[in-house]
């Protein structure tokens, strides 16, 4: 049986670094979540809501697809 693998990766760590080495805590405060949630998103363990994803993109001033990438082996 063929299992379709879907993954969502993100560029948050790189974007934080490029934005004055913004800390996870600073990003968390800007998007109204906890630091632990930012960490979970960054590590790909938690997929944020669409609203939170847009907020993250807005913080970095880039489009959503520059922050999150979706891929599947279909």
């Amino acid at each position: 049986m063929h299992t379709i693998r879907r993954t969502i990766t993100n560029e948050i760590r790189r974007l934080r670094f490029e934005h004055g080495e913004m800390t996870q805590q600073q990003l968390a405060e800007k998007i109204h979540v906890t630091r632990q949630t930012v960490n979970a998103i960054e590590q790909g363990k938690y997929s944020p809501s669409l609203e939170a994803a847009f907020r993250i993109a807005a913080v970095f001033g880039v489009p959503l697809e520059s922050v999150f990438h979706y891929s599947s082996d279909e």
Binding site: T34, R35, Q36, K45
Partner: protein, 137 residues
């Protein structure tokens, strides 16, 4: 560790510890038909509330900003998932209790069995929250 995770640990440990003592004491006393240990249960509930409040205040003193912050979307999702698991356990346990209740056990046994189910459900909920926080979500 976030404040919410610490709160789940407090709930798990205090429920298991304090209600554990209550049930151990009830079992130790043996079946006493018609005599529900109301005083003992009241003492247990008061002890639980006091210990949980003291521990939450202590944790909040060390991280006041986190304690004041509202639950975020991940906290809510984790809570919902934990509730779903705990509800399944509760429904199964209540079904067994109904079946066992039909066998006419002493009322005091039924009351303690229902209390045990409620406590176990709450422990299961906290445990599920902790597991999800540990995994990342």
């Amino acid at each position: 560790m976030s404040f919410r995770e610490k709160s789940a640990w407090i709930s798990l440990l205090t429920m298991a510890g304090i209600y554990g003592l209550y049930f151990w004491s009830v079992i130790h006393d043996g079946p006493q038909v018609g005599r529900f240990h109301f005083g003992k249960l009241l003492g247990t509930i008061i002890a639980l509330v006091v210990v949980q409040i003291v521990l939450h205040i202590t944790v909040a003193i060390f991280a006041p900003a986190e304690a004041k912050a509202p639950r975020d979307e991940r906290d809510k999702l984790i809570e919902l998932r934990a509730m779903r698991v705990a509800y399944s356990g509760l429904a199964t346990a209540v079904a067994f209790a109904c079946f066992f209740g039909a066998l006419n056990p002493p009322i005091v046994f039924n009351t303690n069995a229902l209390l045990f189910i409620l406590v176990t459900t709450e422990i299961m909920r906290s445990a599920c929250q902790i597991i999800q926080y540990r995994r990342g979500a």
